[in-house]
């Protein structure tokens, strides 16, 4: 092994870490700028006679929200029932199975509903957004928009962002209700607590703040999924293979960002 190659290896490794760090900071900056530009077009666009197309927002809402209902309902129900099973198993050790509603209500509403919804939307719609924008970039459709005097952020990004901002919290609320219902059905079957008594207990336990905690997180997740999808889609190079690469990257980054944000949010909200 040559000395030069060994030096290159250490230097190259250090240089690579530096480059990746700078690229990471640059991407966060791009995300912030993209969010500001989206807000600009949303509020200033109509005054410039370049409003955001309402029909595009509705189409995106259908794609992000309505078409995702079956998948999210199924996952919510499964996780709700699973939470009930695990909570009963654990509480049985202390002979406190009747307190199962506490564990289920807090976990589903404050944690699992926004987290699972965010992850599913990232896998389903964040990847689709990155792939769509990436394909549009390599087929020069983004250039076509620019030369037609149509701002791509206004035309493509704002509708996706608005759709996510409306539909992710809506899906999260649905996730909460379905998850709680399925948990209640399992508790009814296992412990014989009636559904009416279960819902009464849930309403007693949960405050508006708990629901807002879950919904608030889902708003942040919506913004993260949309911006990460757009930034990755817009950075595509190298044809179809590049589209596949940015799509995978968008999903991995979005899920990682959701989990880290979730932890930070939980830390700050419980101080």
């Amino acid at each position: 092994m040559s000395l030069k190659n060994a030096k290159d290896g250490i230097l190259g490794y250090t240089e690579n870490i530096g480059r990746q760090s700078i690229a990471g900071v640059e991407e966060i900056g791009n995300g912030g700028f993209l969010l500001l530009e989206s807000l600009y077009w949303l509020f200033v666009g109509p005054r410039l006679k370049q409003p955001v197309r309402f029909s595009a927002v509705i189409a995106q809402m259908m794609e992000v929200g309505i078409n995702a209902i079956p998948l999210i309902a199924m996952m919510a129900g499964t996780i709700g029932a699973m939470m009930a099973m695990q909570s009963i198993y654990m509480l049985r050790i202390f002979g406190a199975e009747s307190q199962v509603t506490y564990g289920v209500a807090f976990s589903v509403v404050r944690e699992f509903a926004p987290l699972i919804t965010g992850i599913l939307v990232a896998g389903r719609s964040g990847s689709a957004l990155a792939a769509r924008l990436g394909t549009m970039k390599i087929s020069q459709e983004i250039d076509a928009l620019k030369v037609m005097g149509i701002n791509p952020v206004r035309f493509l990004v704002v509708p996706a962002l608005l759709a996510m901002l409306v539909m992710v919290p809506a899906l999260t609320i649905m996730n909460m209700l379905v998850g709680m219902l399925c948990a209640g059905l399992y508790i009814n079957a296992e412990l014989g607590i009636s559904l009416a008594a279960y819902w009464d207990q849930v309403i007693d336990i949960l405050s508006v703040g708990d629901v807002l905690h879950g919904v608030g997180k889902s708003v942040l997740f919506a913004i993260l999924v949309a911006l990460i999808g757009v930034i990755n889609g817009a950075s595509v190079t190298g044809g179809a293979e590049g589209v596949g690469r940015v799509t995978t990257r968008a999903v991995v980054q979005a899920i990682s960002a959701i989990i880290i944000t979730d932890m930070l949010f939980a830390f700050m909200a419980t101080r």
Binding site: L3, K49, M136, E141, V147, M148, G149, I150
Partner: protein, 274 residues
Amino acid sequence: MNTEPNIVIEVEDLVTHYGPRKILDGVSMNVAEGEIMVIMGGSGSGKSTLLRYLMALEKQTSGTIRLLGQDIGTASQQEMFDLRKKIGVAFQGGALFSSMSVGENIMLPLYEHAKLDMLTMEIMARMKLEVVDLAGFEDLMPAELSGGMIKRAAFARAVIMDPKLLFCDEPSAGLDPVVASALDDLILKLRDALQMTVVVVTHELESVFKIADRVTVLDRGHILFIGTVEELRNSKSERIQNLLNRRPEDETIDPDEYLRRLTGEEEIGGDATL
């Protein structure tokens, strides 16, 4: 009486870079109103790059580009917005939006800029589809069209706003000779019918001879020739004759340089090894 042609595209001393690499170096040219200017050159000569700068898709390192009298380097956002309404572009692959039908693609610039009622926009789109021989195809999706039809639909979208300038990137690339010739006829027809100035980037010699009023030949980022088709044919330049006669240029290979490229080493020999 003033017989000076009205210059609508002016490029002065344009220098552009892609990263550290210089792509265009001191390019100057102009295009008169109503003229068809063909930009040609070998692969990597910088012709598509020049077109991207003319379409204001990139910011130049230095130099000036004026379109319809507007310096695009110093134009405000609103000035660029107004200028873009007067420019049409037919991209190499068509760049039709795959989620929209042919009719919706063609109507999009009208929908965004003209604010007309839907019936009027549909009528205007059908008129342009008639011009490009695609009448009746407005409800099809781009994926249902052939390569030639996609390019014609792209032309219809490019001219829907009756632009003053039309840019075409490799219009006949990847098409059979008959369809390519039909597209050349379409460019001539659009120029005559709509009184547009057209800039075409191509390396198809038949197209050049058929449609060009003047030709710009680029070579490694520099302008090698600007003139009429006749002047091009009669040029004594060896490079131009090589281009016209499809002769590859002799390239002297430095053996050391070749070896360095293969091994990826900066220097041959002299490495400290353990």
